[in-house]
């Protein structure tokens, strides 16, 4: 126990005086250490991370749209067409939730960045949402998502590019399914 206090003092002194010594010596910490500069703040996020964040946000928006459509239908649940539409939309929503889970699983961010592992979709589900989401809006959103993912995959590393391409293909099948059913 007695020798812990001096060691702490030494460590504290090192932490406070090292930058001062470096500054007076006219050099930055990056000149001393070969690795990342610990005093330069967080390194910028890489292209893959930024793209993944954008794709995750888009997938969350799509999920919110489906939740809004299904919640809106449940408010008019006595009408058969709305019930039929909700029955059709739920499996598609479940697949979007699978997309989101896979995308989040691939997102590795440095500590302190925005936490994408907890779902803002939960709070969105509780909110009243837009007046009524039409099937045409969902179809347009699916098409836009598929197009956006194909645009983005060119510069991604192969495994992520393949995930994007697969999700884009899934979105394209959703758009076709929504068109085929013809439910307002």
């Amino acid at each position: 126990m007695p020798d812990i206090v001096p060691r702490r003092r030494i460590l504290l002194a090192s932490a406070t005086t090292l930058p001062l010594l470096l500054a007076t010596a006219g050099c930055r910490s990056s000149d001393v250490f070969a690795g990342p500069d610990p005093l330069a703040g967080r390194p910028p996020l890489g292209h893959n991370v930024l793209t993944l964040q954008a794709v995750i946000a888009a997938e969350e928006n799509l999920i919110r749209l489906y939740q809004g459509a299904i919640n809106g239908d449940s408010r008019t649940a006595t009408r058969e067409p709305q019930q039929a539409r909700s029955r059709m939309l739920r499996p598609l929503l479940a697949q979007h939730e699978q997309h989101l889970a896979q995308l989040r699983a691939r997102l590795i961010e440095p500590p302190g960045q925005t936490d994408y592992t907890t779902g803002p979709t939960a709070s969105a589900a509780a909110s009243p949402g837009p007046a009524r989401v039409t099937t045409a809006q969902l179809r347009a959103a699916e098409r836009a998502s598929a197009g956006d993912l194909v645009q983005r995959l060119a510069t991604m590393e192969p495994a992520l590019a393949q995930l994007f391409a697969s999700i884009a293909a899934s979105d394209a099948t959703h758009a076709t399914a929504l068109a085929a059913k013809g439910l307002g």
Partner: protein, 146 residues
Amino acid sequence: MAVTTVTGVEGTVPALQAALAAENAAIFGYGVAGAHLTGSGLAAAEQDWTRHNEARDTLAAMIRRLGAAPAATRAFYQLPFRVHDAASAMALAAYLEDGVTKAYLGLVAVSDERVRRFGALAMQGTAQRAAFWRGSTQAFPGLSVP
């Protein structure tokens, strides 16, 4: 799901050849499936057979442009199960489309951006046809996700 970028013409040609082989298998398979379908099912199978023929020609041209010879089609392809009625014919069509989708996903891993985009767009068509024959959509067409 460890995938490495397939770089250069040397990597792109095998991926294109794999897609071509899948298209050739689909063309053969649709011939078998069509024999057990009637009405709108037969019309859809004929339409899809035509699309696979067009895709085969496109892939063969892409391979030639890269200075390679397109692999020849085989006389016979082993079917994954016995096709004896409309239901098994539709299941075969879905199976064939899944196979082509996987092959196009292989193109998405090459370094050439145009080939990547071509593969990604092509697999949207095959995934849609698979969904039609299966009667349901999939979360990850062409991809093995745990």
